[in-house]
Amino acid sequence: MNPPVPSTLIERSLLAAAIDQAVACAHCGLPVPKALLEPRGASFCCHGCRTVYALIHAHGLDGYYLERERSGERGRPARTTARKYEELDDRDFAERRCLPLADGSASVELYLEGIHCSACVWLVESLPRVVPGVREARLNVGRSLLSVIWDPAAVRLSAVARALDQLGYAPHPAASERAQAERLRDRALLLRIGIAGFSAGNVMLMAFALYGGAFSGMQREFSALFRWASFGLALPSVLYCAAVFYRGALAALRTRAPHMDLPISIGIAAGFVWGALNTLRGTGEIYFDSLTTLIFLLLVGRFLQQRHQRRAASAAELAQALAPSIARVRVGDETREVEASGVRAGTLVVVAAGERIPVDGRIAAGSSSVDLSLLTGESTREDVALGDRVWAGTTNAAQELVVETEHSGAQTRVGRLVESIEAAQRERAPIVKLADRLASKFVVVVLALAALTLLVWWGAGADRAIEHAVALLVVTCPCALGMATPLSVSVALRRAAAGGLLFKGGEPLEALAGRGVIVFDKTGTLTDGTPRLESYAGPEDLLRLAAVVEQSSEHPLAKAIRRAAPAAGALRAEGLEVLGSRGLRGRVGTELVTIGSAALFDSLGLSAPEPIAAKLEEFGRRGLSTVLIARNHAVEAVAAFGDGLRPDARQTLESLAGLGHELLVLSGDDQRVVDRVCAGLPLRESSGGVSPEQKLARVRELVRGGKTVIMVGDGVNDAAAMSAATVGIAVHGGAEASLLAAHVFSTRPGVAPVLCAILGARKTLRVIRRGIAFSLAYNALGVTLALLGVLSPLLAAVLMPLSSLTVVGSALRSRAFREEAA
């Protein structure tokens, strides 16, 4: 049977086009820019959507569009990257992350970007139809975690990863042992919640009977039965389920770090001990109904919080993500595998095509091109030949190389980087949550009030006095206070993730909500890292001819020329000839066109005439890269390229400055380039030529000065500074290392997500404050009633869940990240 074709969708978009001229993208449904309209068939808003649509179509997976329509979700523009994922084929990656199965296949877990609806589940789980050799793909929507079972003999893991990327779900390796640990942690807490719920529900039933009895009378034997039953039912809840709070409270006492667990534990302990005593004595109040409900609700809050927590990457994981751990060493005629970290300087290491280079060193034999994307986050390739330096962690893209080792292990550039990231993470002071900051004062106030109650009522008898003091401790047990933060944070992070902003936990929210210093990287962050034609001096037609000559070149400047002058259809270049390392010559019709750097033209013995030479110098001064173009051996034109600001950069930066943030740009690029790009932006400072170490030092200095520092970057060179900052944000398309080091990362291109994160965080914090205010008001009411001695356990049992409900409602109504991330 043929899968259904999304004819409805295309028809509808054609219909829409007939009505208001706006054609919807066949993949995501957004309007298609006029320039990209196709006369027949489907039109697309961007290249990403076209790629995804073609892939979905080619494998008969058009059912995706039907699924999406039925799920009522809007489509999103697809984001594909050009990454090769070759590092996933490393043998040590397989050993560490992949689980071999009995039938020869293997399983691996990958985090996916961009999962947002049930149609995504369908599409991703159809992976076996897209990539032959994949046996099964199971997706966990909540965690965006995909478990793939594939046959390593039939297909490489990198091919699987590329297919996922092409579908718009860029994958990242997930440590399966960590995913397993998270699962076990979740299960343990779920068990506690289930048992606490069982206790709470049943104790509540007993409590109904007891409260009924209190009003209308009850035989002593029955009330004793219910009280003992309540006590028995509360035992597992108080002793087992609530143990997490006691542990937290003890830790807080030991480390003298304020924590919400302390007042919670005091309330539970006071209520339980007094209740147990009263059960034994057969008179007085028991508080088991309030306590068990409290424990249940608090555990639910904790569960929500835990589900969003992702541990920061460990140094070992970072190193693994960056460089292979096995090196093939050549000794005489023999090649053998050794630990990459133990390779001595001077040893020859063989790197096959497609493998990652395990050491820093110089090329001793062979020539190839090296893919630096893992280090820089930009997919550029560098040609290397005998004697050139290569770095551990980069990928040898073309031919076998023999590298003479200079540094290995921790001494490599990558190794030092991992060390500095680790050091930065170690030294960074944790953000203390607002609720936890309140906790220490809260404990003191509550204990003082309890003592006061005891004192005031002492005259009426010790029993009465203790009764009222315990009632106060139970009613002030900060249930709502403890739930306000996790709930609001949980709601916010969920929305943010759906909108393409992934937080690795709730802590960054509070820091993002304040005012501070925002440090931006330039290349790849404020700019998109691809050069554009900025200026051109020379005859217009020559640029078109140059575009024809550069038709099939993959060089970034060649692409920039092609974008600036869409080649005139039928023209073809003949007799193409590569000159030097970057030059190109070809014949178009009767004209011979030569393109290349000024240095190339010097070596050819061609010099630029005066007006062109002047322009060349001027462009150089402005920090642009230049290319000369000659027609029939006469230099006639100069083209200048620069890396422009992202379209959303200016507006985002202006808004951020308007919110009261100080903005800085620290770039590794030349100062002239930085000046040109940053001209007119509301920056306090823009510095060029800043090394990764200097970036780290600057960020540290700012943090030490007591400022909230937000570091926004994309490359490995930003990773250390990002982990040292109060909050590190990695923009879309960043290097794996920067994603690991960052606290927040965006799966949408551009810098606008930074603004979303800050606005969303402010709204979230407002909701948290509102929740805290509500619960404090309830507590004040409870304290007053307890001091007056009119607080009955029934009233406490009603007040407590009521306050929690208010907080829950207020958190769920939060609109944080609803508009921001849409």
Partner: protein, 55 residues
Amino acid sequence: MSVLFLIMPITLLISAAAVAAFVWATRSGQLDDLETPALRALHEERQRMEERHPS
């Protein structure tokens, strides 16, 4: 009313059995993912329908 002395332990035993079932389900990983199975069920249903009535 003294039947309560009999009924209460029985009901508690029954609910204890439910708790035991919950513990088993959690330990065996059935509650690891609370969202996806619900979504997946929709797809499978549709697939079966389409197989039965090929259009």
